[in-house]
Amino acid sequence: MGFLDYFRSEKKRSASLAKERLQVIVARERTNRGGADYLPALQQEILEVIRRYIAVDDDAVRIQVEREGDCEVLELNVTLPETE
């Protein structure tokens, strides 16, 4: 480190900020990867089945896959319309 560095600002270097942000986003995107291909289609078909019986919104069905150790949990959330 040269002596001029002492006069430089102490604020965090932008490269380390970039690295931290990338590590977080890349880790998150990696967990969403793999096997999730069928999810949109599954979601759409479940929505169609439900609509045969009940009128629901497009966003009434939520699907999520969570990984817990070796185990994958498919979480399905259906919001039914309020009945009067």
């Binding site: 040269g2 002596f3 932008s14 970039a18 690295k19 990338l22 995107e29």
Partner: protein, 268 residues
Amino acid sequence: MARIVVVTSGKGGVGKTTTSAAFGAGLARAGYRTVVVDFDVGLRNLDLIMGCERRVVYDFVNVINGEANLNQALIRDKRVEGLEILPASQTRDKDALTFEGVEAVLSALAETHDYVVCDSPAGIERGAHLAMYFADDALVVTNPEVSSVRDSDRVLGLLSSKTRRAEQGDEPVKEHLVVTRYAASRVGKGEMLSMEDICEILSIDLLGVVPESTAVLNASNAGVPVIMEEKTDAGQAYDDLVARYLGEEREHRFLTEKKGLFGRLFKG
């Protein structure tokens, strides 16, 4: 039987075509029969970078459609023995590349060459998918910049799931990292992601680091693969990269900035 190498990145403008041209020329110069295939249908540019744009008569899509045979479409490089290019079509029909067509052309090329280098278009659509699908090796071209690194990670995910090797459960596509536009001085100042940072985030092996260099634009202006400019930093970096790909051990040369006397005094 040739080895098929895809040059890919996800993000555009990071140096895929520059790398494809240099890598192809380097392999041919090392004595391997090499063909570089432009997969960027509608946005043909490999011909321009390799300086043979005026010799394009037939293209990849003509061959797929049976309007020309492969030998009519292949352009032989005038400078390097054993180097050929297959230009992309300028059609706007994005479905012009068919799966079966690409498979047939690549297997025909693989019969008569040692290396087939596939220059992928940007993005992760059809053209990019087909460019990587049949690959044995991948050069993932990345700039030291957040969006490029993220897109490269995305592409690595596709290489491990959406390729023939992945689908058939063969040995996975061998992935090599190529970092381009690297400015060692800015890395030194903490303003740019370092090669180590990028390797750590993407966790793949580094094949080469190409410095940010005026030589790249000069070479593309002239239609010469930058590896042919042997006196330039970028040319030498690509030369090292090809040698490493072929199994030679070579040290990375452009990871630290060359300092003048003044710089040395003040920065230690």
